[in-house]
């Protein structure tokens, strides 16, 4: 079973969201990177970009596949992990750590409660993850 940290929330598109005071750090899950295989390219928004929950905010590409990234919450991009441009494989090596993608300043608190808990995400994966 894929690693699903308890302190994070999740989307059905396999992003994780981590609360950090008034911000949310976002990446893709261990399950997602494993399904993708070797990540060779990551395209992320610029700092200041406005995101809408459940809408596409970037792209992650493996050798074989192109996958859209979906915003867990609406808000403004406060930080972008620029390291991933040169080292996209970090997403495979450390999906919940150095492989983080963006930090968002959320515009609404209500959306947070819509996200899956670790337990709900695990159940979702157990049912096939799609």
């Amino acid at each position: 079973m894929a690693n699903v940290p308890r302190d994070l929330k999740y989307t059905r598109e396999h992003e994780w969201a981590k609360p950090e005071s008034d911000r949310v750090r976002v990446g893709i899950t261990a399950y997602a990177q494993e399904q993708l295989g070797d990540v060779v390219f990551v395209e992320l928004p610029k700092v200041g970009a406005k995101l809408t929950a459940a809408k596409n905010f970037g792209v992650v590409e493996s050798v074989k596949a192109v996958s859209d990234l979906f915003a867990p919450v609406s808000g403004e991009v406060a930080e972008v992990n620029g390291e991933l441009t040169q080292k996209p494989e970090t997403v495979n090596q450390d999906p919940y750590g150095k492989g983080w993608m963006i930090v968002v300043k959320p515009s609404s608190k209500a959306e947070w409660d819509q996200l899956l808990t670790a337990q709900q995400y695990e159940e979702y994966l157990a049912q096939g993850g799609h």
């Binding site: 070797d38 060779v40 390219f41 074989k64 192109v66 441009t85 494989e89």
Partner: protein, 374 residues
């Protein structure tokens, strides 16, 4: 296509047991990767990898009319082929576009074997048997589809010769590039062919289907000290892309002609008539409208099959294959572009998700070939 209707090679169980990720490919359930595409790619460049290519098709043609049949069907000059030699070639339609690319083996004086792409077996079989049945001088050619009874393992990489040599009952170092010999490997009767699809030295080993798993197991254990690993279709694709080897269905197909694909070196009109000759002679005289070239992305982005190629905002071509090339550590692609823009160094762009990303026409292969020469 549902999983239950997919065909399986004799090594299917071995792949599943090894933890391979299986995907549908050309009607077959095939391993796309075992540990990871990039790692497998590097294993082939630095050590040795084993590929299950049993899904490929083998046809045999035999008899006093076999040579005439093949001269009629294929674009290369089969008369130049000696016993024990192999020739890369094409089957074309009358309009010069491509039915399939293939290798032709001269097994004995009037006996040949053709190796064709897995997804094209049925189409090719219909083509070779129907296209020759009305020709006057090819009556004495008997065709046999040996695809089901034949397994095929490619052993590729700088340590391939040592590994195959260790198991073979004959000196494999004496087998030159695009030549073959019969032998036994670990008691399995094998046709040992010095060919491949990776740009590395290596062999393709044809064995009876019911002995192929034995051969695979022996190669895995005998190659342990060489760092041998099974390699999936994912790495097979990045390896061939770095060499600019064409893949049927991606870079060549029923809409591309042999000359624009850069395969004019296997089109030999001087040998006499063949299917597609007249059309290809016209194309050659007029000059090709577009050319298959190698692109390097100068702006970070992955070009993929079907993405448009632009010059100053104008559509000038289309990407046929593209990926990250692990050995060149760049994003590379193959594309058809207008002939005037095919020169090395031409600055172009690939349209990726609505944005023009800079690319340049570069010399190919992208990675130096290390196949054994003569």
């Amino acid at each position: 296509m549902s999983a239950t209707t997919l065909k399986r090679t004799p090594l299917h169980q071995a792949h599943v047991k090894a933890g391979a990720r299986m995907v549908p490919f050309g009607g077959w359930d095939m391993p796309v990767q075992y540990t990871g595409i990039v790692e497998e790619h590097r294993t082939v460049r630095s050590a040795v990898g084993l590929f299950d290519v049993s899904h490929m098709g083998e046809f045999e043609v035999e008899g006093p009319g076999a040579l005439a049949a093949l001269q009629h069907l294929t674009t290369n000059d089969v008369a130049a082929l000696q016993v024990g030699q192999i020739q890369y070639s094409l089957l074309c339609y009358p309009n010069g576009t491509i039915v399939d690319d293939l290798t032709v083996y001269r097994v004995s004086d009037d006996r040949y074997m053709l190796t064709v792409n897995a997804g094209n077996i049925d189409k090719d079989w219909a083509h070779v048997t129907q296209s020759t049945e009305h020709a006057r001088d090819v009556k004495d050619a008997r065709w046999r589809n040996a695809s089901e009874g034949t397994g095929l393992i490619a052993v590729q990489g700088p340590k391939a010769e040592a590994l195959v040599g260790r198991l073979a009952d004959r000196d494999v170092t004496a087998i030159g590039y695009y030549r073959f010999a019969r032998g036994t490997l670990s008691d399995v009767p094998t046709l040992i062919s010095r060919t491949g699809y990776t740009g590395e030295d290596g062999f393709e080993l044809y064995a009876p289907a019911d002995r192929t798993e034995r051969l695979w197991t022996e190669l895995v254990s005998a190659g342990r000290a060489d760092g041998v690993a099974p390699i999936g279709l994912g790495a097979r694709d990045t390896l061939r892309l770095e060499m600019k080897y064409v893949l049927y269905g991606n870079d060549i197909d029923e809409t591309t002609n042999a000359l624009e694909a850069g395969l004019g070196w296997v089109v030999k009109p001087a040998k006499g008539d063949f299917i597609g000759r007249e059309a290809l002679e016209k194309v050659r005289a007029a000059g090709v409208q577009r050319k298959l070239i190698g692109l390097e992305m100068t702006e970070r982005a992955v070009a993929r099959h079907g993405y448009p190629v632009q010059k100053d905002g104008r559509a000038v071509g289309i990407v046929t294959s593209g990926s990250y090339g692990p050995s060149v550590d760049k994003y590379i692609a193959m594309a058809y572009v207008e002939t005037a823009l095919a020169g090395i160094g031409t600055e172009l762009a690939v349209e990726i998700r609505g944005q023009a990303k800079a690319a340049r026409v570069v010399k190919t292969p992208f990675h130096p070939s290390r196949v054994k020469k003569a």
